[in-house]
């Protein structure tokens, strides 16, 4: 016992000063180019949170649109049922992840300019930080509308609990400013080991989208035009955009990079947390997933089936997007497409010959690695990237900006852009296009790609299209709708933690 004391005791006062031997502390960080690189990776990291693109974001985007009819009432379906009240988890979690991205970008923008390092490398990193902050604020304003603007590290703000919400116009201005900065500082491509980092094209495409969302059609057109033509092209096979095998392809502009490495944990900030996607289970047909999932509303399939290819067959995109009860097939890219799901099961095998439910199939990637069901491998089972922005979307957004800036009338550049998208899937070409044509094309091309709900939102059609319908019949209907609930509630944690009673308020309708 005495010997132990000789080893473990220390009679001076300094024994009360105990430094943390387990962690790096901020005072010793922000010194080297390596630190700058580590910090920008840390700013991308929140995208991988299961509360964001890895999973929960889908409940706050596609699960709110008029295509998806989510089964059961829960945190997953609440936003779609206009019931995403302030105490719900899903909006809070995503808000949190988005602001993590914001605050880490702010740290980079604050500290990295003072680090001595190669100027190009420094500029690239600063550009990325602007891009990440801009993208997060773009998501924040589309979901929550009234959000606080924070542009410096929180430690530099005297009273973080008094920050007011910004008028939406100011937030839009910040997003534009960020994306312009990103555009001016980002490279057009990265070395192969760095694929996935934001590029000039990503900043430009996003900037165009941001202008389009604000109905600044001429500005939007100009941005899209900068990356049209040679920079990106469409893949030959439409389906290649939704498989792990063809990630970051010629059509891809910005993807959330995911990997399936067996890690199952939650959260994005731990060595063993999962960095694969967990949302497939929420799009998969009932029975192939451990989640309650959803079904697709009939009108969406009808829209796909309404028009035939130049060979008189069903639009090949239908098979990629949906799983439904049909014996039909389409010849496309040398393959015979059929309605099949996990285990290559036909609808009759999976359900019944008389089943009417329509399910999702896009992103399921069940042919990859012989995946039997979406639950294979548990959470984070797929490394399939989320395609956040791809060239087909840019072409359709460009067409929209063209038509809208021409008083809603067709223009040849708009027709060309839409036809480029249609040619790839053997659909007959248009000679003129209307906004309705563009909207229909967006649904066929982009369903389950996190854009439909926000299209309806920016067109002001959420209420007329979703509330006055039975598209949410499986999740308790839309009886909870009140004007203003097109946006989510500001999470309770923010209202409780913010003491600026005048400047920080709940959104209308909650």
């Amino acid at each position: 016992v005495l010997a132990v004391f000789a080893l473990n005791t220390n009679c001076s006062d300094s024994v009360l000063n105990q430094d943390n031997p387990n962690d790096l502390v901020p005072t010793s960080f922000w010194q080297t180019p390596e630190d700058a690189n580590k910090a920008i990776i840390g700013a991308y990291s929140p995208f991988l949170a299961i509360t964001y693109y890895s999973r929960f974001e889908i409940f706050l985007s596609d699960y709110r649109d008029d295509v998806v009819n989510g089964f059961n009432t829960s945190d997953r379906t609440a936003a779609g049922a206009f019931n995403a009240t302030a105490d719900r988890n899903a909006p809070k979690w995503m808000w949190e992840a988005q602001f993590r991205g914001v605050s880490r970008s702010n740290d980079v923008l604050f500290y990295v300019p003072n680090i001595e390092m190669d100027e190009t490398e420094k500029n690239n990193i600063i550009g990325e930080a602007h891009f990440i902050r801009g993208l997060n604020y773009f998501n924040l304003i589309n979901n929550f509308l009234n959000v606080p603007i924070i542009k410096t590290p929180i430690s530099e703000i005297a009273a973080p609990d008094l920050i007011p919400q910004a008028p939406p116009a100011d937030t839009w201005a910040l997003i534009e400013e960020d994306l312009k900065m990103a555009q001016s500082k980002l490279p057009s491509s990265w070395p192969a080991t760095q694929t996935g980092r934001a590029t000039y094209g990503a900043a430009t495409g996003m900037l165009g989208k941001v202008y389009l969302y604000q109905k600044k059609y001429d500005l939007a057109k100009a941005e899209f035009a900068k990356i049209m033509g040679t920079t990106y092209t469409l893949t030959d096979d439409y389906a290649a955009n939704f498989t792990e095998e063809f990630e970051n392809n010629v059509e891809s502009i910005f993807e959330i990079q995911l990997i399936s490495d067996g890690n199952q944990g939650w959260g994005a900030d731990s060595a063993s947390s999962g960095s694969g996607s967990a949302y497939q289970a929420d799009l998969a047909p009932v029975g192939y997933t451990n989640q309650n999932t959803m079904r697709v509303n009939q009108w969406a399939l009808d829209l796909f089936l309404d028009e035939k290819t130049i060979n008189g067959e069903i639009d090949p995109r239908t098979y990629t997007t949906f799983f439904w009860n049909t014996q039909d097939s389409t010849q496309y890219q040398g393959k015979s497409l059929k309605s099949r799901t996990y285990l290559n099961a036909s609808y009759e095998e999976a359900f019944s010959p008389t089943g009417t439910n329509i399910f999702g199939n896009k992103y399921a990637d069940w042919e990859f690695n012989g995946k039997k069901e979406s639950r294979d491998g548990g959470w984070h089972a797929s490394g399939n990237n989320v395609r956040l922005l791809r060239y087909a979307d840019v072409l359709l957004m460009f067409a929209e900006a063209e038509v809208m800036s021409n008083g809603g009338n067709s223009t040849q550049p708009a027709v060309d852009a839409v036809n480029e998208v249609r040619r790839r899937v053997d659909m007959p070409e248009f000679t003129t296009v209307t906004m309705q044509d563009i909207e229909d094309e967006r649904i066929k091309e982009l369903t389950f790609e996190r854009t439909r709900y926000f299209d309806l939102l920016r067109w002001g059609r959420v209420k007329s299209r979703i509330v006055e319908s039975d598209f949410k019949s499986e999740s308790g209907g839309t009886g909870s709708y009140k004007p203003g609930r097109e946006y989510l509630a500001i999470p309770l944690s923010e209202l409780d933690g913010n003491n600026n009673d005048e400047g920080f308020k709940q959104n209308p309708g909650y």
Partner: protein, 984 residues
């Protein structure tokens, strides 16, 4: 001369002094002494625990026989850094002695305190083998999980789980601040002082105590069988407009079914064997004890073993004294953490397939090819009993707790003492889940996984004290000054690895490709303290105690590091006053009053300094690669400091009926201030962790009563002790933080408790049910903001008539009992002895979340009672309609889940028979006693879950905001034991 006890056994080490001189000696090992004294002088002969005798020197040889003074022994109370005569005590201290403890077999020493002391709440963490308890003294005064401070033979530690209950000599619980303040910063939640059994001078004595018994479950909720389950789900699917699942409908087959609960429970054995050798020589005492405790769980695949060795030794020679104690404890725990998840397997699936393997899928055996979920229905379906069986789990702890103290009387009455304590522990937590069979969602569990962590901890304590004790005429003074230095270090390293090669479960079988992470940490905290105490007694009538302690903690930054904790108390022995001389109805009347401030450093090491997370990863590259990024991911508060608790205590004690009845009463007001509240900053700060700020305050008030009546009628000796305490807990400030929401009882984010100003901590909060909607019109008229109910859904009260909305939620009761009581009866008649111990609680509520799972959650089986749900033809029921969509949001938190937590039980009962003395004389043994004991023989309770003692093991963890949330805690068993005690 020779000094002996009344039966003639020599007393070694008795003190003999010539009265009025300093001339003295001690008896030797055989009780002999020699001293020079004049004829006619008076010798004073004293021995601890015996009545001191004065005898006049009449010849050259004297035989002195001392009578045992049992009452005096009981009246010495162990307090902080010393002991005090009960009559001199000014604080509120509760005690339990070996006699009460050693009677029964406990699976954790803390349970020996349950119900025995007023104001001390002991709640067992369910009935799992080796399960510990949460001890709350005079109510919760913090939002952290900090419990009392434990002092075992002078070593400060955090738990009493490592002690063999049979080794305990006394337990003192210091309740009020005037008693605890000497322990300063860590005493805010009370102090439990444990002393272990020491040897006695004299010949060697050997005691053997062995018992063996069986345990069984007391109460089982009834779960649906396959037929009932299929009916409930079909009914739900029909109501929800969802097609029926084949397994419940067209392909339902009662041959493919399981009854998990029947298969999970078993009758389990428990055994306990102790052997103790003790004795002492002229200048020494020793005690060596061995104990082996083995307990199987009443849930299969769980068991616990504890081995303890304790060696105590003491040495005294003149003014020098030395004591050492060392306890070695090894516990091996194989928990079954899957209990109550077992309903995850639908009863329409068998536990084992045709091949006799654990399974969660009968499709292959039945020749069915329909997709799994499309056949059985949705849900996280897993054969948790199979997982429990296949998984390897073992938690091993080797613990050494030791102490050496040496004291020397420098001057008369002035003693210096050096006390060195240490606790070293090594823990190994091991779990290996194989990639075995179809036990999970109809698929193999994807990957085998090894989780193993080794932790080594070493805590050391150095205490130096000076004690001055002197009597000047009517003035009695005892002064204490001390300095202590304590350092705690814990270091751990673990491995998380997947995809074991050839299914081998040791770390050596994994290569770096399998390695997921190697979590580890190294944590050191230190405390330095200075303290002093003065006890002053005048004429045995007026008592004064004052103490102060100054603590410095490494957990706080330099400027905020030190805290001062003062106390003072007064006592008045009224019965010693002249004017009470002729008042005989009550004797030993004492009034006490005290006030003190104590602290609590309830933050974790390094919590005040921000850190950089090294694993904020992203994925990059044409060949996807995880890249580690850095980020500050947690917010911190560098200004955190001590929590302070201020307690005022009033006490009254007296004896009556010729001392056959003794009564102690206390009233206290305990105000806890600067309580660390975990504040959630807005998430826009980028931090989602809660950060502790010193902003809260809590008040506990209570009344405590303890009475003992002991008497003798012929050959019947008996004693009855009863105690009760009341408690009123109220949060008085949250420092501007919104109410704290806790008590998660589902995986879907529903929470049951709310901690708000003016309410007890962790009060239940939700809607008030008001029957069931009988018509759709009635349901839609409710104008429910959170649900769209129809006929058959739960009806909730709309208090303000503006439609049903969250404003209609109310406080629904508290998990904290406001009344607790215990009754201890012991009796012996000739060679038979009997003891009965009853205890009970009242006024608390339990959130029975089995009701959530059993009526609403479709990720598994239903309660059989769900079949009695409302239907248009079965309207006279309180079970809402069967639905899986639940558009009426029946699941929301309401009093539907709440039940009374009151119970009254016969906690322990024992009957013993000792062989008569004449038989013992023949076989030359001191004692042979046989006993039969029963635990939880009966429990009177209206609670419909497993057992009303639910602990804090809910989904949200053991946070106090989850108290009273019963997520199917490991059920408390009923135990019968047969035992044998032999002494020689």
């Amino acid at each position: 001369g020779v000094a002996s006890d009344e039966s003639g056994i020599p007393l070694a080490g008795a003190n003999i002094i010539v009265k009025g001189t300093t001339n003295g000696t001690q008896t030797d090992f055989d009780g002999n002494f020699s001293i020079s004294a004049a004829k006619g002088a008076t010798l004073v002969v004293s021995y601890l625990g015996y009545i001191t005798k004065e005898i006049t020197v009449s010849g050259t040889s004297l035989n002195v026989s001392l009578a045992e003074d049992a009452s005096q022994l009981d009246e010495v109370v162990i307090i902080g850094y010393g002991s005090q005569k009960k009559s001199d005590l000014t604080g509120s201290v509760a005690t339990v002695g070996a006699k009460d403890i050693e009677k029964y077999t406990y699976n954790d020493a803390s349970q020996a305190l349950q119900g025995k002391m007023a104001g001390v709440n002991v709640q067992a963490q369910g009935g799992a083998p080796g399960a510990g308890s949460v001890i709350t003294i005079r109510g919760t005064g913090t939002f952290s999980n900090a419990g009392p401070l434990y002092v075992i033979d002078g070593m400060i530690t955090g738990s009493m789980s490592n002690i063999n209950p049979g080794d305990i000599a006394t337990v003192s619980v210091l309740k009020d601040a005037s008693a605890t303040a000497i322990y300063g910063s860590r005493a805010a939640n009370g102090v439990v002082i444990i002393t272990t059994k020491k040897g006695k001078k004299g010949k060697i004595s050997i005691n053997l105590d062995t018992s063996f018994g069986f345990q069984s479950v007391i109460n089982e909720p009834q779960w649906a069988d396959a037929t009932q389950y299929a009916t409930i789900v079909n009914r739900s699917n029909d109501a929800d407009g969802v097609p029926r699942y084949p397994a419940n409908d067209t392909q339902f087959d009662p041959n493919y079914s399981s009854n998990l609960y029947d298969d999970s429970f078993r009758s389990a054995s428990v055994s306990n064997t102790s052997l103790r050798l003790s004795g002492g020589g002229e200048h020494s005492v020793y005690s060596l004890s061995l104990n082996q405790f083995d307990q199987e769980g009443i849930i299969k695949f769980s068991e616990f073993k504890r081995t303890t060795v304790r060696a105590n030794a003491g040495l005294d020679k003149g003014k020098f004294k030395m004591e050492s104690t060392i306890g070695l404890t090894r516990t091996v725990n194989n928990p079954n953490p899957y209990f109550n998840k077992e309903r995850n397997l639908l009863p329409t699936i068998r536990l084992k397939n045709d091949a006799g393997e654990w399974s969660a899928d009968d499709r292959a055996d039945r020749g069915i090819t329909t997709a799994y979920g499309a056949f059985y229905g949705p849900g996280t379906i897993a054969n948790e009993l199979g997982i429990a069986a296949l998984e390897e789990r073992e938690n091993t702890i080797n613990n050494v707790l030791g102490n050496i103290s040496a004291s020397y009387e420098i001057l008369e009455g002035l003693t210096y003492k050096l006390n060195l304590g240490m606790e070293a522990a090594s823990r190994n937590n091991f779990t290996f889940s194989p990639d075995a069979q179809v036990i999970y969602n109809g698929t193999n569990k994807a990957t085998s996984q090894l989780n193993e962590t080794n932790t080594n901890s070493l805590n050391t304590l150095v205490e130096q004290t000076l004690n001055y004790s002197k009597t000047f005429g009517k003035h009695k003074v005892n002064a204490l000054a001390g300095f202590t230095d304590q350092k705690n270090n814990s270091r751990s390293l673990g491995i998380v690895a997947i995809n074991a090669t050839n299914g081998i479960s040791t770390a050596g079988a994994f290569s770096k490709d399998n390695l997921q992470s190697a979590p580890g940490e190294d944590i050191t905290s230190t405390i330095q303290s200075y303290f002093g105490r003065l006890n002053y007694t005048f004429d045995d009538k007026y008592l004064l105690t004052a103490s102060i302690r100054r603590d410095g903690s490494s957990l706080f930054r330099e400027e905020l590091r030190f805290g001062q904790f003062p106390s003072f108390a007064l006592g008045w022995n009224l019965s010693n006053e002249k004017f009470m001389e002729n008042f005989d109805a009550l004797t030993n009347i004492k009034l006490r009053a005290g006030y003190g401030e104590i602290g609590s450093n309830n933050i974790n090491a390094y919590d005040i300094v921000p850190t950089i997370n090294l694993f904020s990863t992203y994925v990059l590259g044409d060949v996807n690669t995880r890249i580690s990024g850095n980020a500050v991911t947690r917010g911190t508060n560098s200004n955190a400091f001590w929590e302070t608790t201020k307690t005022t205590n009033f006490g009254l004690e007296f004896n009556a009926l010729n001392s056959r009845l003794s009564v102690t009463m206390d009233y206290f007001i305990k105000k806890s201030e600067d309580i660390l509240v975990d504040i959630q900053l807005p998430l826009y700060t980028g931090f989602s962790n809660t950060i502790p700020f010193n902003r809260g305050s809590i008040q506990n008030k209570g009344f405590e009563f303890l009475a003992t009546y002991a008497d003798q009628i012929g050959d019947l000796n008996f004693s009855v002790t009863g105690n009760f305490s009341t408690l009123d807990n109220e949060v008085t400030s949250l420092g501007g933080q919104a109410p704290i929401i806790g008590g998660g009882f589902t995986s879907n984010g529903l929470r049951g408790t709310r901690t708000e100003i003016g309410q007890p901590i962790g009060s239940f909060y939700g809607y008030v049910t008001d029957g069931i909607y009988q018509t759709n019109d009635e349901a839609s008229a409710a104008n429910d903001q959170e649900g769209n109910p129809i006929a058959g859904d739960l009806k909730f009260k709309d208090f303000d008539g503006d439609g049903l909305n969250p404003d209609d939620r109310r406080f629904l009761g508290s998990p904290i009992p406001n009344f607790e009581y215990g009754i201890n009866i012991t009796a012996d008649y000739k060679n038979f002895d009997l003891s009965l111990f009853f205890n009970g609680v009242a006024g608390n509520k339990i959130l029975n979340s089995t009701k959530y799972r059993g009526y609403f959650d479709f990720n598994g089986n239903y309660l059989a009672d769900a079949i009695n749900a409302w239907t248009p033809t079965n309207t006279n029921t309180n079970v809402p309609r069967n639905t899986q969509v639940d558009s009426g949001f029946n699941r929301r938190m309401s009093d539907f889940y709440l039940e009374s937590g009151a119970y009254f039980r016969l906690r322990n009962a024992q009957i013993g028979y000792s062989l008569p003395d004449d038989v013992m004389d023949k076989i030359k043994l001191q004692k042979i006693r046989l006993y039969l004991s029963a635990t939880n023989l009966f429990t009177i309770s209206d609670y419909s879950g497993y057992y009303p003692e639910v602990g804090r093991n809910s989904r949200g963890g053991t946070s106090l905001f989850n108290a009273g949330v019963d997520e199917g805690n490991y059920p408390t068993p009923r135990t019968f034991q047969l035992g044998l005690q032999v002494s020689f």
